[in-house]
């Protein structure tokens, strides 16, 4: 009965039918498409327009042409320094995040007891809001009251450092905090799945050829998870450009001085604290272009693999 029905419906499948199938397809896609157009597409286009205006979030935006971009390129603009800080942050954040998620994933793939428990502990920081994590970090690295300096004093360091007060050491705190971010936990899961897909025969063959652990890691594991590695690097890079704000705002507030003032922080400050929406939008356009270029480059790289 049902086979007959299927062949009958195949016979019926002429043009109008196909069109209505397409309509159903669009219907299913519509929540996402409408959501994207309204909540991403339109705001992106609108911010391009706003970058050509002066607007204090009250009244009507005034068209000023390219003035905001001219200001950004002028000598006393913060753009250059902020971009540099953003790149430093991205390199540190992506490096630390990828390294630790890979190490954790490999630990999870080794044969140990209570693996579920380890998985739970490794993943828990991921679901903790980064504001809470940053609060813990500032307290831990507090020069007078923090546990880090307490331990340093115990082991005989007489003058433990002012971590978040130093232009260079603040990056150690940022790197350490990067281990406990949402990105690291997510990537750990992706790596963990990828590692399970590496054929065990390859390891066996390598063992027969006399390869040691490190050689197996370099010549079997890494090529085996390369596509996933690239995926993680792309998503982590884009994420750290766009998501730097949630980590750094509570952790350092951009300080000391403006040593950790990344583009995301600057945009937020300009838009919602200084009410300079035009310049904030111009900065957002710059960020958009940078992320788009990096994303395109990384996808090109992915295609080649």
């Amino acid at each position: 009965m049902s086979t007959a029905a299927v062949s009958a419906s195949r016979k019926d499948a002429k043009k109008p039918k196909r069109r209505s199938d397409a309509a159903a397809g669009w219907g299913f896609l519509s929540p996402w498409i409408i959501g994207f157009l309204l909540f991403s597409g339109f705001p992106i286009l609108f911010s391009f327009y706003l970058s050509l205006t002066k607007w204090n979030l009250l009244g009507k935006p005034q068209f000023v042409g390219l003035q905001n971009y001219v200001d950004l390129m002028s000598g006393d603009s913060e753009l250059g320094k902020t971009l540099l800080v953003t790149f430093v942050f991205t390199i540190i954040n992506v490096g630390v995040s990828i390294l630790f998620s890979l190490i954790l994933a490999m630990l999870l793939n080794s044969k140990v007891r209570f693996k579920g428990l380890f998985q739970f502990f490794y993943y828990v920081p991921t679901i903790m809001p980064s504001v809470v994590m940053a609060g813990c970090m500032t307290l831990m690295f507090n020069p007078q009251l923090g546990i880090v300096n307490y331990v340093l004093k115990l082991i005989g360091v007489t003058n433990p450092p002012n971590w978040t007060g130093s232009n260079s050491l603040v990056w150690v705190v940022v790197a350490y905090a990067s281990v406990f971010t949402f990105a690291t936990g997510q990537q750990m899961l992706v790596f963990s799945a990828a590692l399970k897909d590496v054929p065990t025969e390859l390891y066996e063959a390598a063992s027969l050829d006399g390869a040691n652990g490190w050689q197996k890691f370099c010549h079997v594991t890494i090529p085996g998870i390369a596509p996933m590695m690239l995926f993680n690097v792309v998503s982590c890079t884009v994420n750290s450009f766009n998501g730097a704000f949630t980590l750094l705002y509570p952790l350092t507030g951009g300080g000391p001085g403006d040593a950790t003032k990344v583009l995301g922080l600057l945009i937020y400050d300009k838009a919602f604290k200084s009410f300079n929406m035009g310049q904030a939008s111009a900065l957002a356009v710059v960020l958009f272009i940078i992320v788009a270029i990096i994303g395109a480059l990384q996808f090109k790289l992915m295609d080649r693999k």
Binding site: W26, N56, Q144, N162, N167, T252, P256, G257, S274
Partner: protein, 420 residues
């Protein structure tokens, strides 16, 4: 047959998905403003606002709708509501927003209504009159005020045999006491004479004490006062080493509360929250004065303001009238531990929330309220915070005094200007 049915169901699901998402979008855009009748009133505030139940009890005819927003996103949310022509009837506004909205005609001028509301402007503390002069009238009414004061650990003073601070202390007295109160052991400081000023407002108070106007004509006016403050704090931190170097990030630690610093400067709200339960004896004093300077401390408040587009102004006036009545003011003082802007109410002392081990010198609070001014809080917050970061960078030896006084102040003013 089966397949055909499934196809039909599929189409229905697809249609429902499409309609539901469109519907959700439409709902996002719809106005939540209430109808034009004078029995409903929307009031917005951040975090909590405790006295509303008392207001409701006294005004059963008014149906109060609360717009409650988390503190971090309050300013942004209210700005968006104003832009969307959906502003709450009465908004609680921080100083900078109050000034900005007053200048942009978003909130109503209340001067004509003050008499009806029973507000006596003669009774206002000087700073309230000052800000009214700045924005050319009363566009809102202050709910209560916090000041900045000095805190000291009495046990540490007793142990070191140092006399308690008095209201005529100067920066030099503070520094001398801090020296006597600092203890080191094997090269490590185990007790600090003073905590570093970790609240940016304190820096603006210090600059004001040094002789600066702090804010003039809507811009920062900092010069010799800030210079004196920078040199004073640099001496405390790097020469005398009686207070720790500053660090960046959100402030989750407090050396004074931890019993590791003998003195600190900070907001009066610390009395009722952070220091209420500490287990040492402590008290408050007015902030020490700068040599050859002036009395100054930064005041903090928020204003009740009525949206110009409100359709419920009668109810809004009733709300403000109740909040500014003696009953409302006393209730607010008790709930928030802030002093009333009315001198006559403040003098009764209902704002005094006693902790377990302090304070007793409440006159310091009243004195600070009377000599306090609305300064840095009336301009956009990021530029003043950026400048605070640069000030800390100077104390940390990462930038020069001249860079702070010229480059950083100029940049802050440029940012403040473009924010208006």
């Amino acid at each position: 047959m089966n397949v055909r049915l499934r196809n039909g169901a599929k189409k229905i699901v697809a249609a429902v998905a499409a309609i539901a998402s469109l519907g959700a979008m439409a709902a996002c855009g719809s106005s939540t403003a209430s109808q034009s009748d004078d029995n409903t009133l929307t009031f917005s505030y951040w975090d909590t606002f405790p006295v509303l139940s008392e207001f409701k009890k006294d005004n059963p005819d008014i149906q109060l709708k609360e717009v409650k927003v988390p503190g971090d996103s309050y300013n942004t949310k209210i700005n968006q509501m104003i832009l969307g022509n959906n502003a709450p009837d009465v908004m609680l506004l921080q100083e900078a927003d109050y000034v900005r909205y007053a200048k942009n005609g978003v909130i109503d001028k209340l001067d004509d209504k003050l008499a009806d509301m029973g507000v006596k402007t003669d009774d206002f503390l000087p700073a309230i009159k000052g800000i009214a002069d700045d924005v050319d009238g009363y566009y809102g009414l202050s709910q209560g005020m916090a000041t900045e004061i000095m805190y000291y650990n009495k046990d540490m003073f007793d142990a070191a045999g140092v006399a308690y601070p008095t209201s005529d202390w100067t920066w030099d007295d503070y520094a001398a006491a801090a020296q006597k109160l600092t203890k080191t052991e094997g090269g490590q400081t185990t007790q600090w004479g003073s905590d570093a000023p970790s609240f940016n407002g304190v820096w603006y108070s210090l600059a004001g004490q040094g002789g600066d106007a702090v804010v003039k004509d809507g811009k920062l006016s900092l010069g010799k006062g800030l210079k004196a403050a920078l040199e004073y704090q640099n001496k405390m931190t790097n020469e005398l080493k009686v207070q720790p170097a500053p660090s960046s990030g959100s402030k989750v630690s407090d050396l004074f509360a931890a019993g590791q610093a003998a003195m600190t400067l900070g907001g009066s709200w610390l009395i009722a929250n952070t220091y209420k339960d500490v287990d040492f004896n402590w008290d408050i004093a007015p902030m020490p004065a700068a040599p050859n300077g002036q009395d100054y401390d930064s005041l903090h408040t928020s204003f009740f303001a009525i949206s110009s587009s409100s359709k419920h102004k009668t109810a809004a006036y009733k709300f403000l009238k109740w909040m500014m009545s003696e009953k409302g003011q006393v209730a607010l003082e008790k709930a928030n531990a802030n002093i009333s802007p009315f001198k006559s109410v403040g003098d009764k002392g209902d704002y005094q929330i006693q902790g377990k081990h302090g304070p007793s010198n409440w006159d310091a609070f009243t004195e600070a309220a009377e000599q306090g001014k609305f300064g840095y809080t009336t301009v956009a917050s990021t530029p003043t915070f950026d400048l605070y970061n640069q000030i800390n960078a100077y104390i940390l030896g990462q930038t020069s005094e001249n860079d702070v006084l010229k480059t950083a102040v100029d940049k802050a003013n440029k940012d403040i200007e473009s924010a208006q």
